[in-house]
Point group: C2
Chain length 155, copies 2
DNA sequence: GCATATTAGTTGCAATCGTAACTATCGATT
DNA sequence: AATCGATAGTTACGATTGCAACTAATATGC
C-alpha cells in the first residue's frame, strides 16, 4: 500500500526545483562575490538592462516572476547604489519609470559577460541535445503558465 | 556597447527558476492547506517515503538538494509530529537513521496521491511532447550535476 | 596513542522573505 | 464632486533562511 504509481524522481516540481537551485546557485556565487548583489537585485538589474528602456516596478516583477515586495526592496537597494533612478510618470503619478544610470548599465554589461560565459559552460556541461530539449520543454511550461496565470497570482 | 549577444529570456537560470517557482507554488498550496507542511518538511517526507528504507539526514539533503540546516529543522518538525523516528547507528554514532512512522507513511501515501493528480494536471497543461522534452533536458542537467558536484558543494 | 582534520548534525544570530495592512493616486459611478 | 473600488508601491512584523560557530564522534598522520 505504499505510493504505487508515484516516482518522486519523476515528479516535475521536485526535479525542476533541484535543477533550478543548482544552476542558480553557481551563478549567484559569481555576482555575489563580484558585486555583493542579492538575487532580487541582480534580477531587477537584468530586467531593466535587457529591455533597454524604462520599466515600472510592476513590469519588472512580471518579467522576472518576483513578488512586488522583493522588487520594491531591490529597487531601493539599487537606487542607493546609484545604479538606477526613478522618474515620476506625468499623468499617473502612482507609476515610477525605473532606468539604469550609466554606472548601472556598466555593471549590467559586465554581468552579462559573466552570464554569457556561464551559459556557455552550461551548454558544454549539458550538451547540445539536452539543452535543446530543455529549451523546448521550458517553452511548453511558459506557454502553460500564460494560460493559467490569467487570474493574477504571483509568487 | 550594450550586452550584445545576451538574451535574458534565453538565460537558463532565469528560465528554470521561473518555471520551478511557478510549478512548485501551485503544489505547495495543496500540502500547505491540507497538512500545514512547509516545503522542506514535504520534501523530507517525500525523500524518506520514496526510498522505503531509512536514510540519514545527509542523504535526505543530497536527495532533495536542501541545505543541511533546512533538513535538520524539517526532521525536528516531523519528529515532533510523530511522523518519523531517529535510530542511532551502531558503529558510527554520528549518524541517525531516519524512518517514517506508520502515521508518517500514511501521510506520505495521501500526499503522493495529490502529487500524482498534480503531475497529470501538468502533463495536460504542458502537453506530451513538451513534457517529454522537459524530461530529457532535466536528465541532461542531472547528469551534469553529478559530474560537477564531486567537490562536495551543497546549497 | 595522541594531535589534528573531517564529518554529522544542531543552533545562535543577522538577514531575507511574504503576508497583510497601509498610503497615495487614479478611474468609474452617481 | 463625492464615493467606492482598483492599482502602484512601501512597510511593519512574524516566520523562514543561511552562515558561521558549535558539539560530538570518527578518521588520519605521525
Amino acid at each position: 500500500m505504499a505510493a504505487d504509481g508515484f516516482e518522486l524522481n519523476a515528479f516535475l516540481p521536485y526535479r525542476l526545483n533541484r535543477a533550478a537551485e543548482f544552476v542558480a546557485l553557481r551563478f549567484a556565487a559569481q555576482y555575489k562575490a563580484r558585486y555583493q548583489l542579492t538575487r532580487p537585485e541582480w534580477r531587477t538589474l537584468a530586467a531593466l538592462g535587457s529591455t533597454r528602456r524604462p520599466m515600472t516596478a510592476t513590469e519588472v516583477g512580471a518579467h522576472s516572476a518576483m513578488h512586488k515586495t522583493k522588487v520594491s526592496r531591490a529597487v531601493a537597494a539599487l537606487e542607493e547604489r546609484r545604479w538606477l533612478t526613478r522618474n515620476e510618470n506625468e499623468g499617473d503619478r502612482r507609476l515610477e519609470h525605473l532606468q539604469l544610470t550609466k554606472a548601472g548599465l556598466r555593471a549590467y554589461v559586465e554581468l552579462t559577460a559573466l552570464a554569457v560565459n556561464y551559459q556557455a559552460e552550461l551548454d558544454a556541461l549539458v550538451g547540445a541535445s539536452g539543452m535543446q530539449a530543455l529549451t523546448a520543454g521550458l517553452e511548453a511550461i511558459e506557454r502553460a503558465i500564460g494560460k493559467v496565470e490569467k487570474p493574477r497570482r504571483e509568487g
